[in-house]
Symmetry: C2
Subunit: 457 residues, 2 copies
């Protein structure tokens, strides 16, 4: 069975690249309302591809850009897989830094260069082509498949959550699959089984009602710049640990197996430092750089401002100071409770003579999936057979909110299967996707349907 699919994919690979090229020519920039008709063309392209593959599909209107929904559910007794992706792309600016225009796909060095090549048109497209291969060779799929391809991922997915909430029957499934992350490195495919959560806020500290002359008043009123600095400084101890009370309560620590897996990954710390332009790594004591990035909670200043910031001196006591703070969270930490704890802690540090306002930007939970689940095992096998190397099990330091939505609304875990590379210029000029990764990803997807069919539901 699988051999026929392999052959089909090989025979049609050139056509797939041509079709992807047509897809990438569509400037479906969701943030640019002057391109709304092009963004809709992106949805229509996906619809036609799904239908051509033999998946009954439709365009579902939202308050913003439409969602493309398709479903094939004739594999009785088999798992149902929810495939998520997005057809919208980031704005292409700055245009002058593109070697070839962002919406005129160019193939060179074994890569296809265009906006959306990897994020997410190229990666998402692998799943449509793998379904096509099964349908054209067998007239059916080994598992049930539901496609939800949205057009607002790059602008916050405002309408996706409501669609999922209101259509739980349409998206009822056993496992979700998303290809919108990366391999660990070239030649090292990866499955991302954990994501950090986040909380974010802004703190406004008010001193005098207006900026004061630092000669006339300095020393007699609390300076909100100095005061805020004391508050921020109190967020960490000298070992880089966060001092918010209760911050580490309930944190699910890394398992020895995970630490061993991370430690076994090739990681060039000198290159990491030189790429970032820092002269040292830093962070919580007793953890490696990968552990700090993927699996330890943080508390970062995102921005701050106070008083006079123009050229030269201006000797004032500022009226106020502001800081934006975000904490990356790990499993076991509750963003709502910790936001409250952060606010209380900062209020406790607030120096006499200042008042404080706290703005909650809301957050999301961290997620870690069992990397030994049957679904994970199926994905490992499919990837190893296609890429020729077993995937490493990694985490990501950022958040992918839809993954939490799938867990809380749909009740499923997600397989995060990235075919691209971190170096593919996501959100930057000269975005690209390796044709070999496109081929391997499509095959891995086709094999995944086969492997998932063996999972008992």
């Amino acid at each position: 069975m699988v051999e026929q699919v392999r052959s089909y994919l090989e025979q049609h690979q050139d056509r797939f690249v041509k079709e992807l090229t047509e897809f990438l020519k569509i400037p479906s920039v969701s943030a640019d309302s002057t391109l709304n008709s092009e963004t809709r063309r992106g949805a229509e392209f996906v619809l036609k591809q799904l239908e051509d593959a033999g998946i009954e599909s439709q365009i579902i209107e939202t308050a913003g850009h439409p969602i493309v929904y398709g479903a094939w559910k004739k594999a009785e007794g088999k798992p149902t897989v929810l495939v998520y992706g997005h057809y919208d792309v980031q704005p292409p600016d700055p245009l002058d830094q593109w070697i070839t225009p962002p919406f005129e796909p160019d193939i060179r060095d074994g890569h296809i260069y265009a906006r959306g090549a990897t994020d997410d048109k190229g990666q998402m497209y692998t799943h449509i082509k793998s379904v096509e291969a099964w349908m054209k060779t067998h007239g059916e799929l080994p598992v049930n498949v539901i496609f939800v391809i949205e057009g607002e991922e790059e602008v916050g997915s405002d309408n996706l959550d409501r669609f999922l909430e209101e259509n739980k029957d349409l998206v009822a499934s056993d496992i979700a699959v998303i290809s919108d992350t990366s391999q660990y490195a070239p030649g090292i495919p990866a499955i991302t089984y954990g994501l950090r959560g986040i909380l974010a806020c802004e703190v406004i500290v008010q001193g005098p009602s207006q900026d004061l002359h630092s000669g006339v008043f300095g020393g007699a009123v609390m300076n909100p710049g100095n005061g805020l600095a004391k508050m921020i400084a109190a967020l960490h101890d000298d070992e880089g640990r966060v001092r918010i009370p209760g911050f580490y309560d309930g944190v699910i620590e890394l398992q020895p197996e995970e630490r061993a897996q991370f430690a076994a990954l090739p990681f060039d710390e000198a290159k990491f430092m030189s790429d970032l332009g820092v002269n040292a790594v830093s962070g919580e004591a007793d953890f490696s750089t990968l552990e700090r990035r993927w699996a330890r909670p943080t508390c970062d200043v995102n921005g701050m401002i106070s008083g006079y910031t123009g050229e030269g001196p201006k000797t004032i006591v500022p009226a106020e100071s502001r800081v934006k703070i975000s904490c990356r969270l790990v499993p076991g930490q509750d963003p709502v409770a910790l936001t409250k704890a952060l606010e209380q802690y900062l209020r406790a540090q607030l120096p006499t003579g200042l008042t404080m306002e706290f703005v909650d930007f809301h957050g999301c939970n961290a997620l870690v999936f069992d990397f030994n689940s049957p679904y994970m095992s199926a994905a490992k096998t499919a990837i190893e057979q296609s890429f020729g190397a077993a995937p490493v099990m990694i985490r990501e330091g950022g958040s992918i909110p839809v993954v939490e939505t799938f867990q809380t609304v749909v009740g499923v875990e997600t397989l995060l299967l990235g075919w691209g590379q971190n170096t593919d210029n996501l959100h930057s000029p000269n975005e690209r996707f390796a044709l070999e990764a496109f081929r391997q990803g499509t095959l891995a997807s086709a094999l995944l349907w086969h492997e998932l069919a063996g999972v008992t539901v």
Copy 2:
């Protein structure tokens, strides 16, 4: 002798107000180059008034606005008094907040309202009129008098220092007099015998070479926002004392007599707080608010900026952070040495993984004059006889750089005799000067020449 001068001043007071009105009509805004010809008219007005008073005078060109210089030196064996003032004014913006236009002087509530009314045209003018009164009634002055009236005080006095350096013979004198400060409060005339010094700098702390995604990198690199906050927080201990090593070495402490004088001054702390909009005063332990403002050194953030400061969240690790810091200094503190000490201390606090740049904005020394000197006694007598109350001896928290220049270049102390009030809207809309203060100031000035004549030089 003095009675004739008193009578002259009374008889001519109305004319003085009319002349001052004409002076205030001239928009001599030194910062506005489109008004350069008006600023020059301001100089010419002063020149004519000095000449009409019988003082040989001239306009001295500089690289910027001219200096008006006048001298009468026929009081052999008597002290020579250097009178400093400025004919330039602050810009009048915001214009829409003026009840009557800034350059159309209006008399109401016993005050003359116009830009420059108190700062410094009205106050400076008292010394010209007092000289006129002596010359018209006696044909001579009790002391030698030199006038240096500049036109760049509101833009940094760039050319005054050079003039003084290059013309030491022209300005050789025994004591300087400046009326560009304020009384302590209505009905409480004051002599300012001390000024704080200052040092100022900017500190730039660099982390990664560009802003980083706080999810991907947060926790693994030192955040320059958090790092700078730690450095700023380290500047003070919990009792509000500055922790820069050596900061308090050599500080000349307040004498018990001074503390008693300050404590005896009426000071409504509740009103002070409510005027500034703060819910508490704050500062170095064991000192009163007036002591903190006038006679204790400080270390204030003037401004700071890092990362994202727009609306809403943006979860980055900023590439850099910046802070502007100024320290107000008191006698015994060396701004040059302490700037070095501040830089060294901040470098010692710099967290691993960050680099730091330090920009020195330069500073000036604090000054305190003997408030029991013969010159001070002469001024006290003159003020008490004119204002009907003995002046209180106060300090100012700010700096008046020309006072340090007079000390270092000319070698004289300065009598800071303010006739106006803090509430006269200096540098703000509806600047004003009480006509009674104008009258009392002119008489005090006339009496001062008489009293200074008794000082042995």
